[in-house]
C-alpha cells in the first residue's frame, strides 16, 4: 500500500494505491455525482454520471472504477461534464414514469437530488411514458418499475452481500427490467430471504416498504456500510 498524490479540481489530494478516483475525491470533499456506485458493492461503471476528465486522456473516465495514479490531474466539474450529466439525468426522467408528487420517496430520492444538484428545472426530452407495472406480491416490499433507473444496486447487493441472487436483469435496452428469479412475482420467489437490503440501497422509489405513503419512505443510507464493515472488519459499528 503506497500513498498516491494527485490533483483533483486544482486541489492536491492523497489517496492509497488501489483506491478509486471517486473515493479519493469524496474523502477530500469533492463530491462527484453518481448513481450506480454505492460504497460496499462492486462497481460496474454503468451510469456514466461520475465521468471525469483526466489530463493526457482523450476519453472521459468513470471515476468509480478508475484507480488513482501518482501525479494524475483530474477535473470533476467542467462545462462539458455538467452538460453531459444534466442530459443523462434528463434521459432518466424521460425514460420511465417519475411522478414525484405521488412517489413514496419524494424529497428523499437520489435521482431528484441529482436533478437539484445539476440545476434542472425541466426536461427537454420527450417523456416516453412506457406502460409498466408495480410488483406488490411480496408481503413486506414492493417493486415499482416506473421508478427504476436500472442501476442494478439491488442485483448486486442481493448477489454479493446477501448471497441470494434473487434479482437479475431481463431483456435488453429500453426494455430491460429487473426480475426476481426467473421472472416470478417477487412474493413467490424461492430465493428471496426478505432481508430488505435491496430496498435500502435502491436510490429511487422503485423498491419500497409497503404501507408507506407519499414521501414517507426513507432509505437507510448507512446500512450497507454497516454490514460491509462488519463483514470485512468484524466490527458492528455505525
Amino acid at each position: 500500500m503506497s500513498v498516491v498524490t494527485l490533483e483533483i479540481d486544482g486541489k492536491v489530494c492523497t489517496g492509497v494505491s488501489g483506491e478509486t478516483v471517486f473515493d479519493v475525491a469524496w474523502n477530500n470533499g469533492v463530491k462527484i455525482p453518481r448513481l450506480c456506485h454505492i460504497g460496499g458493492l462492486p462497481n460496474i461503471g454503468a451510469c456514466r454520471l461520475c465521468l471525469v476528465e483526466v489530463e493526457g486522456q482523450k476519453k472521459l473516465l468513470p471515476a468509480c472504477i478508475t484507480p488513482v495514479q501518482e501525479g494524475m490531474v483530474v477535473r470533476t466539474w467542467s462545462e462539458k461534464l455538467i452538460a453531459h450529466r444534466r442530459l443523462i439525468v434528463e434521459l432518466l426522467f424521460a425514460e420511465r414514469n417519475h411522478v414525484c408528487s405521488v412517489c413514496v420517496v419524494n424529497r428523499n430520492c437520489e435521482l431528484q437530488d441529482l436533478a437539484v444538484e445539476l440545476g434542472l428545472d425541466h426536461i427537454r426530452l420527450r417523456y416516453q411514458f412506457p406502460k409498466l407495472v408495480a410488483d406488490t406480491s411480496h408481503e413486506r416490499f414492493g417493486l415499482d418499475h416506473n421508478r427504476c433507473v436500472l442501476c442494478t444496486r439491488c442485483v448486486r447487493v442481493c448477489d454479493e452481500v446477501e448471497g441470494a441472487h434473487t434479482w437479475d436483469v431481463s431483456r435488453r435496452g429500453a426494455l430491460s427490467q429487473i426480475i426476481a428469479d426467473l421472472g416470478e412475482p417477487w412474493g413467490e420467489s424461492d430465493t428471496c430471504t426478505s432481508c430488505g437490503k435491496c430496498v435500502q440501497v435502491c436510490p429511487t422509489g422503485a423498491l419500497f416498504e409497503k404501507g408507506k405513503a407519499v414521501s414517507e419512505m426513507r432509505k437507510d443510507r448507512g446500512f450497507l456500510k454497516y454490514i460491509v464493515t462488519a463483514r470485512e472488519k468484524g466490527q458492528w459499528i455505525r
Binding site: 460496474i44 461503471g45 454503468a46 451510469c47 456514466r48 454520471l49 465521468l51 476519453k59 472521459l60 468513470p62 472504477i65 462539458k80 452538460a83 453531459h84 442530459l87 443523462i88 434521459l91 432518466l92 424521460a94 425514460e95 427537454r124 426530452l125 420527450r126 416516453q128 433507473v149 436500472l150 437479475d168 436483469v169 431483456r171 435488453r172 435496452g173 429500453a174 426494455l175 430491460s176
Partner: protein, 547 residues
C-alpha cells in the same frame, strides 16, 4: 499427421483431382442456395451416375463465388469456366460438355473479376468446405507447419507484425501488437477467441468465409495459439448461422482426426483445442467484453476497459480476440511471409478487404479488393454502378457504427484513415449503396432504430439516448420535429459519443453525424418545410399538439 504426411497427402490429392476428366464446383453458399443450387448439385450428381462417369467426373459444393446476383453459379475444371443462372436442365451438359453452354458462360475477364484480389477468399468457390483434403490440396495447413517447424512462436509473431495486418472486426487494431500483448503475458492458461458474431445489418463476409473455407479460420486460430501460447480456442458464432456452425463442427472433427487440431499437432508438443459457442443473436455480443461474458455463461453485456482482454479476458486469463477475416488472413500471410502481405495495400492499411455489396448496385455480392482501391472503382467497375437509371447518392460503410459517403468523395481510397477522415469507418465490410430515391433522414433513423433495439441497456446514455434520438428522427420523417429537436439531437450525438460505455453507444450517432455533415439541407427541409426531397417520408404536418 506429420509435416511430411501433410505434403504427401497434398500431392496425392492434387494428382487425383488432376486425373479427373471434369470436376464441377457448385456454389452452395446462401445466395446460390436461395436460387436453387442444391437441386443443381444433386442433378449433376445423378447425371454423373447415369452417364457412367463415376470416378471420372466429380461434383462438389463450394463457398461463395462472389457474383451472387447471377446465381446459381457453377465452375467446371474441364474448360476452366464459370457458368451463371444455371438450372437442373443444364446438368447433363455441365457433366460432359460444358462448352455447349456458352450463353451461360460468365466472362471472367470482366472488371468484376480482374479488379479484385483474392487472399481471404482465395479458396472460396474452389474447395469443398466439407472436405479437409480439398483444403489440404490447396496448400492448407502448410502455414501452420511453417510456423511450428520453421518460424517458432517469436518468428511467427514477427511475420504478423511485419505484415501490418490490422483487425478486420471494425476498429483496425494492429494484429501483431495484439498478439504480442497476449504472448507477453505470464502464465500458461491463455485463450484464443474468434469473433464470428457478425451482427451488422447487411454484412455476410464472415459467414461466407466460415461456410466456404472453415479450415482457413481454424488454421489461422491454431497459428495464433501457437504464437501466443494458448491451448484452448473458442469460436463465438451467431446462432442464425446454422450452416456455418455445421461446417465448423465438421471441420473441427476432421482437423482433430488428422491431428491438425487437438493434441500433438503435426506430431509436435503443440496442442490446441477449438470449441464453438453459439450466440443468441444480440449485436452487442460482438463487442469483445460482452462476447467474453457470454462465453462465460453470463449476461452478454460489455464491461469497462481497461483491463483489456489481452490482460484479463476469459475467466480473467489473457485472451486474444480476433475477427474471422483477421484469422482468415493468417495462413497466406504466414505461408508467404509478412513482407509479401505488406506489398498489397496502402502505407497504413495492408492487404485486402472483403466487402458485401448491397443496396442499389448492379452486382450485389461478395468482393475482395486491395486496401486503397478507390470507392468509385469498387462501386462502378466491380459493382457495376447504380441500376435503373437513378443517380448515385451515397455509400454507407460500417453499418450502424459507420457513415454515409456522398458522391463528391467517390475517389477516396478505401483504407482505415481515409474513411475516417471523411466521417465514416472501414467497419467490418458492409457496403450499402443508396440512390436518389433514398431519404437520408430515414437512413439515419433506420440505423438508430437498429442501435436502439440492440443496446444492451447497461449504460444510460446508450439505453435511453438511442430511444430519444430515434424518437426525434422518427418525428422528423413525419414532419413533426422542430429546430429545437434538431439541437437536442446534436447534443445527444455528442453525449453518446463521449459517455457511452462501449463501442455500440459511442458509435451509434455516426450515421446521424455523417448525414448531418453531408445532407443537412435534407434535414432542414423535413423540419422547416415538412418536405422529403426523396419523396419517401409521408408528412402529416404538425397539427397533433406538440411541436
Amino acid at each position: 499427421m506429420t509435416v511430411e504426411e501433410l505434403f504427401d497427402q497434398q500431392a496425392a490429392e492434387v494428382e487425383r483431382q488432376n486425373a479427373l476428366e471434369n470436376r464441377i464446383y457448385c456454389c452452395t453458399a446462401a445466395g446460390c442456395v436461395s436460387c436453387g443450387s442444391e437441386a443443381v448439385r444433386k442433378a449433376i450428381g445423378e447425371e454423373i451416375k447415369s452417364q457412367g462417369l463415376t470416378g471420372k467426373v466429380e461434383v462438389c459444393g463450394t463457398g461463395c463465388m462472389g457474383l451472387c446476383s447471377k446465381g446459381p453459379l457453377v465452375r467446371t475444371s474441364k474448360d476452366d469456366a464459370l457458368y451463371g443462372g444455371v438450372d437442373v436442365s443444364n446438368a447433363a451438359a455441365l457433366v460432359s460438355a460444358p462448352e455447349t453452354l456458352a450463353p451461360l458462360r460468365i466472362d471472367t475477364s470482366a472488371p468484376f473479376f480482374i479488379k479484385q484480389k483474392k487472399i481471404v477468399l482465395g479458396n472460396s468457390g474452389r474447395v469443398d468446405p466439407e472436405k479437409i483434403m480439398d483444403y489440404i490440396a490447396a496448400g492448407g495447413y502448410q502455414a501452420l507447419a511453417r510456423a511450428c517447424t520453421e518460424l517458432g512462436p517469436a518468428g511467427t509473431l514477427d511475420e504478423v507484425k511485419k505484415s501490418g495486418l490490422r483487425g478486420r472486426g471494425g476498429a483496425g487494431y494492429p494484429t501483431g501488437l495484439k498478439w504480442e500483448l497476449v504472448a507477453r503475458q505470464p502464465g500458461d492458461v491463455k485463450y484464443v477467441v474468434c469473433n464470428a458474431d457478425e451482427g451488422d445489418p447487411g454484412a455476410f463476409m464472415d459467414r461466407s468465409v466460415l461456410e466456404g473455407d472453415p479450415h482457413r479460420v481454424l488454421e489461422g486460430m491454431a497459428i495464433a495459439a501457437y504464437a501466443v501460447g494458448a491451448q484452448q480456442g473458442y469460436i463465438y458464432v451467431r446462432g442464425e448461422y446454422a450452416l456455418a456452425i455445421q461446417r465448423l463442427q465438421l471441420a473441427i472433427r476432421q482437423a482433430e482426426r488428422e491431428r491438425l487440431l487437438g493434441n500433438r499437432i503435426l506430431d509436435s508438443a503443440f496442442q490446441f483445442r477449438v470449441d464453438l459457442r453459439i450466440g443468441a443473436g444480440a449485436f452487442v455480443c460482438g463487442e469483445e467484453t460482452a462476447l467474453l461474458a457470454s462465453i462465460e455463461g453470463r449476461r452478454g453485456q460489455p464491461r469497462p476497459r481497461p483491463p483489456y482482454p489481452p490482460e484479463a479476458g476469459l475467466w480473467g486469463k489473457p485472451t486474444l480476440i480476433n475477427n474471422v477475416e483477421t484469422f482468415a488472413n493468417i495462413p497466406p500471410l504466414i505461408q508467404n511471409g509478412g513482407e509479401w502481405f505488406a506489398s498489397t495495400g496502402t502505407a497504413t492499411s495492408k492487404g485486402t478487404k472483403v466487402f458485401a455489396l448491397a443496396g442499389k448496385i448492379a452486382n450485389t455480392g461478395l468482393i475482395e479488393v486491395p486496401m486503397g482501391t478507390p470507392l468509385r472503382e469498387i462501386l462502378f467497375d466491380i459493382g457495376g454502378g447504380v441500376p435503373g437509371g437513378l443517380e448515385f447518392k451515397a455509400a454507407q460503410t460500417g453499418g450502424p457504427s459507420g457513415g454515409c459517403i456522398p458522391a463528391e468523395f467517390l475517389d477516396t481510397p478505401v483504407d482505415y484513415e481515409s474513411l475516417a477522415r471523411i466521417g465514416s469507418i472501414m467497419g467490418s465490410g458492409g457496403l450499402i449503396v443508396m440512390d436518389s430515391s433514398s431519404c437520408m433522414v430515414d437512413v439515419a433513423r433506420f440505423f438508430m432504430e437498429f442501435c436502439m433495439d440492440e443496446s444492451c441497456g447497461k449504460c444510460i446514455p446508450c439505453r435511453a439516448g438511442t430511444v430519444q434520438m430515434h424518437d426525434i428522427l422518427l418525428r422528423m420523417t413525419k414532419g413533426e420535429a422542430s429546430s429545437r429537436d434538431m439541437a437536442i439531437l446534436e447534443e445527444l450525438c455528442t453525449l453518446l459519443r463521449e459517455t457511452s460505455l462501449c463501442g455500440l453507444g459511442q458509435t451509434a450517432p455516426n450515421p446521424v453525424v455523417s448525414t448531418l455533415r453531408y445532407f443537412r439541407p435534407e434535414y432542414e427541409m423535413h423540419i422547416r418545410d415538412h418536405r422529403c426531397p426523396a419523396g419517401l417520408c409521408e408528412m402529416k404536418g404538425n397539427e397533433g399538439g406538440a411541436r
